[in-house]
């Protein structure tokens, strides 16, 4: 790896493209997860009546639906990331590796 010119990689548009796209995507999803989770915690702390509200005529409460929604959203967000990374980011990385190794 001694032959790898770091400056050349850093300056290459492909590298910058990959890093920028992935960073934006990963931070967006991270912030989405933070908002979903801490939003839920704040609702639990400050909006108990809202979470106790019933769905339709049954006993199932909005809180249970939202709570399960948080669990499902964590899984869905990882799925979205993996989907994008497997296709787009891996392709960009492969191209970069072909060019520099």
């Amino acid at each position: 790896m001694a032959s790898l010119d770091h400056n050349q990689v850093l300056r290459s548009p492909q590298f910058q493209d990959l890093v920028r796209q992935r960073a934006r995507f990963a931070w967006t999803l991270s912030i989405a997860m933070l908002i979903i989770y801490f939003g839920f915690i704040l609702l639990v702390a400050f909006a108990k009546p809202l979470l106790a509200a019933k769905i339709g005529d049954g006993v199932t409460s909005l809180g249970i639906i939202l709570g399960l929604g948080v669990i499902v959203s964590a899984f869905v967000l990882t799925g979205i990331y993996v989907q994008r990374a497997n296709s787009r980011f891996d392709e960009l990385t492969r191209r970069l590796a072909r060019e520099f190794i």
Binding site: L10, A26, K48, V59, V70, I71, T78
Partner: protein
């Protein structure tokens, strides 16, 4: 309600608070409720032990190099690793504790399971791929990639050992109590059996055996919980609404179990706990170590995806099991300690405490055979978690402290692996002794402390060294130590330790969990000290960021799969 409040304030992590419910019950109750020797459970558990020992024997024959020992030769697939991560993470405390919490208070149990899940997406988005690209065997490899080997390795090895120690003590004590209850074995024997088996798995089979123990355990636990949930749902024609309606009719708190109760009374504590759970997951050494067992960043990424799926599914099952326990058990006096007039409290008087809700539900849904199976699964679960912790502690001693710090990298692989095996034996023996000493102590705060330290020391050092160019050795060292010391100090001064363990009248730190303060302290410390660090070493470290950056982002130059 008041019992819940006590639960919420007494412990950082309710599942372990719940386990401590068994412990708090004390020896008198324990003696009354200790089960007769449960032969079905013991035979099924023996089958598990024999099977895993066979795997350990085969793994030992294939484990030759350091890469084999620490990272299973890099030959684990993403799917297998996902199962193994789930196996590492789904403890008996979360299985029995969360279902018990749902049984006692309904909705509140869901809040905790969510906290334990939401760290995983963060691990995936920010940590997993970079970790695989930069590291070899431990997360210290990554944190010290361009920083001073000696100082940063000592810091991260200490961070690792502190987390492992507290987590391990909590697991050992919980294991001893649980096995005493489930199998009718003496506490000391239970602790010794757990300790000896984990030593055998780790010292002989290394990462390969430990991984397969995790995978088998994860499959058994998921299968058992799935079966139990299906039986519960089947009774209600697979309608959750019908199950909830029946639970509301049965539970003494009625409709209140469908809404938030008293568990999140104080928003600061709730958010602090949330931070510790979310970011602590990304700093648990035995979890981070799993990313070096796969061949590349893509497999690391897939393993988090699968792990998140399995863990999410598991927490949904524990929720169903908790509600199932309400509907199946609460009207059946045979599961309760009856008062003089035959009356009983539908929550408090359940035999063995609320943690036993899932165990009793096994009896109610599948008879003594299913009870034996679920008990054996709970035992296997504990064993797998402590084995992962032991391996990670042993690697910190042999790979970080011995090979890189004491011997300065001049050590043969064989010697390093040998030291790791001896460390595993030593850690196992210490764990048995500590488990015995802490038998009647309150250990509920320890899991919370482990997560707080992971979030306030390991995670900031790891993240900043990888993401921020300006991080220097001095900054990482001071910031990491500040996070570590402040987290431990605030826990010691909090109610759980200062009042409940040391017996002082008033706590000096008002919140249950320190993360909301100790995490910013660590990040600010790293940032400020690095900024003021103008030494020539700091300049060299900043200059060498580029090489690390390229490798962490692309994997170009990363240690290839170790498979031969």
């Amino acid at each position: 309600m008041s019992r819940l409040l006590i639960l919420a304030t007494a412990a950082f992590v309710a599942l372990d608070a719940n386990l401590s419910g068994i412990m708090a019950a004390g020896p008198d109750l324990g003696a009354v409720q200790r089960q007769p020797l449960n032969w079905t459970a013991i035979i099924m558990f023996l089958a598990f032990v024999l099977g895993t020992l066979g795997i350990t024997y085969r793994a030992a024959a294939q484990t030759k190099s350091a890469a084999d020992f620490y990272a299973a030769g890099g030959g684990i697939t993403g799917f297998q690793n996902g199962l193994a991560i789930a196996g590492d993470y789904m403890s008996a405390a979360s299985f029995l504790g969360i279902s018990g919490l749902v049984f006692a208070s309904g909705f509140d149990g869901l809040i905790y399971s969510i906290g334990f899940l939401v760290g995983w997406p963060i691990v995936l988005f920010l940590i997993a791929e970079r970790l695989r690209n930069l590291g070899k065997f431990t997360f210290s490899d990554v944190a010290s990639f361009r920083l001073d080997q000696t100082q940063i390795r000592i810091l991260s090895a200490v961070g690792t050992l502190v987390v492992v120690a507290f987590y391990l003590i909590a697991q050992m004590v919980g294991a001893g109590k649980l096995i005493e209850l489930l199998f009718g074995l003496d506490y000391l024997y239970a602790v010794i059996i757990v300790g000896v088996l984990m030593i055998v798995y780790v010292a002989f089979g290394g990462m390969k055996a430990t991984t397969w123990v995790q995978i088998i355990k994860a499959c058994l636990l998921l299968a058992g919980a799935t079966l139990m949930s299906l039986i519960v749902l089947w009774r209600f024609g697979f309608s959750p609404e019908a199950m909830f309606a029946e639970a509301v009719r049965t539970h003494p708190r009625g409709d209140a179990i469908m809404a938030p109760g008293a568990l999140v009374a104080d928003p600061v504590s709730a958010i602090s706990l949330g931070l510790a759970l979310m970011f602590g997951t990304a700093g648990l050494p035995h979890i981070l170590m799993r990313f070096f067992t796969v061949s590349d960043a893509q497999a690391a990424r897939k393993s988090v995806f699968y792990a998140t799926g399995f863990i999410a599914y598991f927490y949904i099952l524990t929720f169903i099991i908790g509600f199932g326990a309400i509907t199946f058990l609460m009207n059946d006096p045979s599961f309760f300690k009856l008062g003089a007039n035959g009356a009983y409290d539908k929550v408090r008087d359940i035999l063995g405490g609320t943690n036993m809700a899932a165990i009793h539900l096994a009896t109610a849904t599948g008879g003594s055979l299913f009870l034996g199976f679920i008990s054996a699964v709970a035992f296997a679960t504990i064993l797998a978690v402590v084995a992962g912790l032991t391996l990670s502690g042993a690697s910190a001693v042999s790979h970080d402290l011995y090979a890189e710090v004491i011997a300065r990298g001049r050590v043969s692989e064989q010697k390093e692996v040998r030291i790791s095996k001896f460390s595993a034996i030593a850690i196992g023996i210490v764990a048995i002794i500590l488990g015995y000493i802490f038998e009647n102590q309150n250990v509920a705060f320890m899991v919370g402390l482990a997560f707080a330290v992971a979030a306030s020391c390991n995670f900031p050092v790891l993240l900043m060294s990888v993401l921020w160019k300006g991080t220097t050795t001095r900054g990482a060292l001071v910031g990491g130590l500040l996070g570590l010391v402040s987290a431990v100090a605030m826990v010691v001064l909090s109610k759980a330790v200062w009042v409940q363990t040391f017996g002082f009248a008033r706590e000096l730190f008002p919140y249950d969990n320190p993360a909301i303060f100790s995490m910013p302290i660590a990040f600010l410390g790293i940032w400020a000290i690095s900024k003021f660090d103008t030494s020539s070493r700091a300049k060299a470290e900043i200059a060498s960021f580029d090489a690390q950056y390229i490798r962490s982002e692309t994997g170009i130059g990363a240690a290839a799969a170790h498979a031969h």
